[in-house]
C-alpha cells in the first residue's frame, strides 16, 4: 500500500498551511510542481476567518526534521486531508488544530503501515456494502484503499459542485458543509457510503490529536496539554485520593526514556 514518493516540498507547504486554515490556502509559497495547494488565489475569493496567532505555528515550526515526510499520500490526497482534518479539529486562540498537530503525518504513517493494510481485519468476501450499522464495517477495502477511493470520489464530487474548485480551495464554511454532507450521507459517493469514510477520517483525526507524539501527531503534546492528560507517566498512588488536586506536571511521551520504570532492575 505504500507508494514511493518524494514530496518533501508538499510537506513544507503542508507545514506552512498549519499557520491557520484560512491562511493555509493563501500562503502561495508555490514549489515547482505548481500543485494547487500553493496557488494562493482562493483566500481572496473565499475570505476565511482570520487565523489566530496560535502556538500551532510555533509547534509546526519546531517539528523535528523528517516529520513532514509522507509515506502514503500523494500531493492532492495530502492537501485534502490537511484541509479536512483542520475543520474537524480547528485551531483556536490557545491550541493548535489537527493540521498543526501533525495529524496528516499521523494518518499517513498509519496508512503506510499495518493499519492501512488491514491488519487485524477480516477482509474475506462476500461483502455487503449496505449492511445494517449493527453489523459494522462490511466494505471490501483496507483503510488505505478506503482513503484513496474516498478522497478521489469526494474530490470529484466537490469539483462537480463547485465549478472545478478542489476541496482545499473552499472556504471554511464550505468545507464544513462538505464534511457534514459526508457525515449525514447527504453526499452520495459511487463506491462507498460517505459516512464510512467520514467516520474513519474523524476517528483517525482524533487518534492523531491524542495519541502519543511518537506516532507523528499530537505535536508538542498539544492534545494532552489541551485536556491536561499527563501521557505515559504511570504513578498516582499518592495523589489518587487527593480530591480536586491541581495536577501540573509536564506531560511525558513514551518515547522519553525518563518514563521507564525503575523496578525493572529490582525484579529480575
Amino acid at each position: 500500500m505504500t507508494r514511493p514518493v518524494s514530496r518533501r516540498h508538499l510537506l513544507k507547504t503542508g507545514a506552512a498551511s498549519v499557520a491557520g486554515v484560512g491562511a493555509a490556502v493563501a500562503i502561495g509559497t508555490c514549489d515547482e510542481s505548481g500543485f494547487p495547494i500553493c496557488r494562493g488565489s482562493q483566500a481572496a475569493a473565499q475570505p476565511a476567518a482570520p487565523a489566530p496567532a496560535s502556538p500551532a505555528s510555533n509547534a509546526a515550526a519546531a517539528a523535528p526534521s523528517g516529520t513532514g515526510m509522507l509515506f502514503f499520500f500523494n500531493d492532492p490526497e495530502a492537501a485534502f486531508v490537511t484541509a479536512a482534518v483542520d475543520r474537524l479539529i480547528p485551531p483556536d486562540a490557545t491550541f493548535a488544530g489537527a493540521a498543526a498537530a501533525g495529524v496528516l503525518t499521523y494518518i499517513d504513517r498509519q496508512l503506510a503501515s499495518g493499519f492501512g493494510a488491514g491488519d487485524r481485519m477480516y477482509l474475506d468476501g462476500p461483502w455487503l456494502a449496505d449492511a445494517p450499522p449493527e453489523q459494522g464495517y462490511q466494505l471490501r477495502f483496507t483503510p488505505a484503499q478506503l482513503y484513496q477511493i474516498g478522497i478521489e470520489e469526494i474530490r470529484a464530487h466537490v469539483r462537480a459542485a463547485n465549478a472545478g474548485r478542489e476541496f482545499w480551495d473552499l472556504g471554511e464554511a464550505e468545507r464544513d458543509d462538505v464534511l457534514s454532507g459526508l457525515e449525514t450521507a447527504r453526499i452520495v459517493l459511487p463506491s462507498l457510503p460517505a459516512p464510512v469514510f467520514f467516520e474513519t477520517l474523524l476517528a483517525n483525526t482524533i487518534e492523531g490529536f491524542f495519541a502519543d507524539p511518537a506516532y507523528g501527531g499530537n505535536r508538542d503534546m498539544v492534545g494532552w496539554r489541551m485536556v491536561g492528560f499527563p501521557g505515559a507517566y504511570a504513578q498516582y498512588l499518592e495523589l489518587v485520593d487527593a480530591y480536586d488536586y491541581a495536577y501540573r506536571r509536564e506531560p511525558i511521551s513514551m518515547a522519553n526514556e525518563d518514563a521507564r520504570h525503575a523496578h525493572l532492575t529490582d525484579h529480575p
Partner: protein, 589 residues
C-alpha cells in the same frame, strides 16, 4: 497425516486463567498436563513494561493484546433470518490472545453473584409466580448453590489478592461493604483500594438517597501480598493503564503473576504456545474424547492424545469448538431443541455522565481497572420486582479506570461531534466529568445463540462461529428501571448537566460494551437444556469438561471473572475428589 504427540492425562484448550489454574492443580496431583495456547508467551517483564505499555493507540484502539480477526473471528446478526456477516474488526468485546488470555488485559473487578442468581428459575417461580415472566425468558437453575460455590469464591479471591470491604460476613452485615452480597466465610484478603474523587462524589450522593455505597472489589493489589501459591503481588500504582493493557507493576492479578509460575514450576505441566486447536477428537463408539487436533507454529496438524480434555478457551470459542467437533446437539432456534450454543447472553450496559464543566478537578488519569465506588441496591436480589415485569438488575458504579484521551473525552448532550465547539467542549469537560456505569444482567432468549456460519470461514478453513443476539425485552425493561435509578443519583451529584446513554437500540457489534460474553455451553440439571452438568462435565462424554463464562445459564449484573474463577476451583474439586480416580459421568443423565 497429522503428527501424533505422546499421550498425556489432560489436554487443556487454551492458556488463560482457567487453564493456568487447572494446569497448576492437576499437575500437582500427579497428572501430566499440556495446555495448548494459540498465541505467544508473554511475561510482565519484558512484555508489559512502561513506557511502551502506556500506548493507548496500540493497545486500546488497535487491540494489541487481542484475538486477530484475520485468523479467526465470528459472524454476527441480530435475529434468526437475518444474514450473518463477519465481525471484520473487534469492537463490542475483546477476547485476548496469548498466554494469560483475557486475564492479562482485564480490569480486575472481582465480583460474586448474589445467591438467588444460581437458582434463578426456582427463585422467580417461588417469589413472583410461574406466570411472572414471558415464556421466552429461558432462565434456568445452575445446578449448584451459592453456598456450594462460596469456598471457591473465597479461594479464588485469595489467589487474586482481591481487596475490598466485606458487606456480609457469615450472615452479619458489615458497615462500609455491600450489604446485598451473599454471606462470605472470610473478609477479603486485602483492604479496599483508595477511593477516587469521582467515587466520593457518587458515593456521597448515593448515600444521601439511601443507597449503600462501597468500594468495588479489586484484584489490583492494594499492598504487597503473597497468595496461597507463594506468588507475590505488588501494590497498584493507579497508573490508569489497566483494561486492555498488561500490568507493569505486578499489581493486577494476571495468570502470569498469580498462577502460572506455580504451574510452570511443575514438570508435569507443559504450556505449548502457538498451538491453534481446531477440534476435539472423539471415539464415536465409546463416546469419549480421545484428544485434540491443533495446528502448530510450523503449520502442521498435530494430534495430542489425552485421557481427558478440558475446554479453557474464551466463552463463545468453547461452544464453537464443540460445534466444529460435532459434539452434542447444536441448538436450533426454530425448534428450540439442542443444547450446544443455547442461552448465549451478554451484559446489558448503560451509562451516565455528570458534567461539572470545569468546576471540579476529577483527574481521571489517576485510575485503576477496579478503582470504583458502587451501589448494589438495584441488583437482582436487592429489590422487589413485583409489578415491574422483568427479572434482573444491575450494580451502578463510578469507575475511574483511566483518562486516556483517544477514547475518553466526554462532552455534554447537544455538543457538535467535531469542529470548534466540540474542541472547546472537550477541553472544558475532560477533567471535570464523572462517568457512571450501569452494569446490567442479561437473560437468555430463544433467538440468542451461537451456531456455525454457513458461508464464512477462518484462516484454517473452518466455519466461523455465528452469534445471533439482540437485547431481550426483559432486559430493556430492566435497563430502563435501573438506569432511571442511576439518573436520580446522578442528578444529586451537583453537576452542571447530566447526560444519559439509555439502552434504546439494537445490539451492535461495533462499540465496545464489555467482554462479558456468556452462555453457549451452559451448565444445568437437565441434559436436554444444558451442555454440562453441575460439575462442568459434558453430558455427552464424561472426559470432556468445559470451563469459562460460557457455562452461565444467564448472566448476572456483575463482571463474570470472580464466578469463572470460583467455578473453575469447584470443577477442579470434583475432578480431584470424584472423577480422576474413577472416570465416569458424575451426574446420571
Amino acid at each position: 497425516m497429522a503428527v501424533r504427540m505422546p499421550p498425556v492425562d489432560v489436554a487443556l484448550v487454551g492458556g488463560g486463567m482457567t487453564a493456568a489454574i487447572l494446569g497448576k492443580e492437576l499437575a500437582e496431583a500427579g497428572h501430566t498436563v499440556v495446555a495448548l495456547e494459540r498465541g505467544q508467551m508473554r511475561q510482565t517483564i519484558p512484555d508489559f513494561q512502561s513506557p511502551t505499555m502506556h500506548d493507548e493507540l496500540k493497545y486500546s484502539v488497535r487491540h494489541g493484546l487481542m484475538q486477530d480477526p484475520r485468523v479467526q473471528t465470528l459472524s454476527f446478526r441480530n435475529f434468526p433470518g437475518q444474514r450473518a456477516l463477519p465481525m471484520r474488526q473487534l469492537g463490542s468485546f475483546l477476547p485476548g490472545e496469548g498466554v494469560g488470555g483475557a486475564m492479562v488485559h482485564w480490569n480486575g473487578q472481582t465480583w460474586r453473584f448474589q445467591p438467588e442468581w444460581f437458582a434463578l428459575r426456582s427463585w422467580v417461580n417461588d417469589r413472583y409466580g410461574r406466570d411472572f415472566l414471558a415464556e421466552d425468558v429461558t432462565i434456568q437453575d445452575w445446578g449448584l448453590s451459592y453456598e456450594d460455590l462460596e469456598p471457591f469464591y473465597d479461594y479464588f479471591e485469595r489467589i487474586c489478592g482481591t481487596g475490598g470491604t466485606a458487606g456480609n460476613l457469615r450472615g452479619e452485615v458489615q458497615s462500609g461493604g455491600n450489604p446485598f452480597e451473599g454471606a462470605r466465610s472470610a473478609p477479603y484478603p486485602n483492604p479496599p483500594m483508595k477511593q477516587a474523587y469521582s467515587g466520593h462524589l457518587f458515593g456521597t450522593a448515593a448515600a444521601e438517597l439511601g443507597h449503600h455505597p462501597f468500594p468495588v472489589p479489586s484484584s489490583n493489589s492494594t499492598r504487597h501480598y503473597t497468595n496461597p501459591y507463594g506468588l507475590e503481588l505488588k501494590p497498584c500504582m493507579y497508573c490508569g493503564f489497566c483494561e486492555t493493557y498488561g500490568c507493569e507493576h505486578f499489581a493486577k492479578a494476571s495468570a502470569q503473576v498469580a498462577i502460572l509460575p506455580a504451574a510452570l514450576a511443575n514438570k508435569n505441566f507443559e504450556l505449548r504456545t502457538r498451538s491453534y486447536v481446531l477440534r476435539v477428537e472423539w471415539d464415536r463408539g465409546a463416546n469419549v474424547a480421545t484428544g485434540v487436533t491443533y495446528v502448530d507454529a510450523r503449520g502442521r496438524e498435530v494430534f495430542q492424545p489425552a485421557a481427558m480434555v478440558v475446554l479453557c478457551a474464551f466463552a463463545h470459542h468453547n461452544a464453537v469448538l464443540m460445534l466444529q467437533s460435532g459434539i452434542g446437539e447444536p441448538y436450533d432456534p426454530r425448534t428450540r431443541s439442542g443444547t450446544v450454543g443455547r442461552n448465549y447472553t451478554y451484559q446489558t450496559m448503560s451509562g451516565i455522565n455528570v458534567f461539572y464543566a470545569g468546576s471540579k478537578r476529577i483527574n481521571p488519569f489517576m485510575g485503576a481497572g477496579a478503582l470504583g465506588t458502587a451501589i448494589d441496591d438495584v441488583n437482582n436480589g436487592s429489590f422487589d420486582h413485583s409489578g415491574l415485569g422483568f427479572v434482573g438488575g444491575a450494580y451502578i458504579a463510578a469507575y475511574q479506570t483511566s483518562g486516556r484521551p483517544i477514547n475518553f473525552h466526554p462532552v455534554p448532550d447537544g455538543t457538535p461531534r467535531w469542529g470548534r465547539a466540540w474542541k472547546q467542549a472537550v477541553a472544558e469537560n475532560y477533567n471535570s466529568t464523572v462517568s457512571l456505569t450501569i452494569h446490567g444482567s442479561s437473560v437468555p432468549h430463544p433467538n440468542n445463540y451461537i451456531g456455525l456460519d454457513p458461508s464464512y470461514t477462518d484462516a484454517f478453513g473452518q466455519p466461523l462461529g455465528m452469534v445471533t443476539f439482540d437485547f431481550p425485552y426483559n432486559d430493556r425493561l430492566m435497563s430502563r428501571h435501573v438506569t432511571e435509578k442511576a439518573w436520580r443519583v446522578a442528578q444529586a451529584m451537583g453537576g452542571k448537566s447530566v447526560s444519559v446513554g439509555w439502552l434504546d437500540d439494537h445490539y451492535s457489534i461495533v462499540p465496545y460494551q464489555t467482554t462479558h460474553n456468556t452462555g453457549g455451553t451452559i451448565m444445568g440439571t437437565d441434559p436436554k437444556t444444558s451442555v454440562v452438568n453441575r460439575y462442568l462435565q459434558s453430558w455427552d462424554m464424561h472426559n470432556l469438561w468445559v470451563m469459562g463464562a460460557g457455562v452461565f445459564p444467564q448472566n448476572a449484573g456483575y463482571n463474570p471473572t470472580g464466578t469463572v474463577g470460583a467455578l473453575t476451583y469447584w470443577a477442579l474439586d470434583a475432578m480431584l475428589k470424584q472423577y480422576l480416580r474413577n472416570p465416569r459421568p458424575l451426574v446420571p443423565s
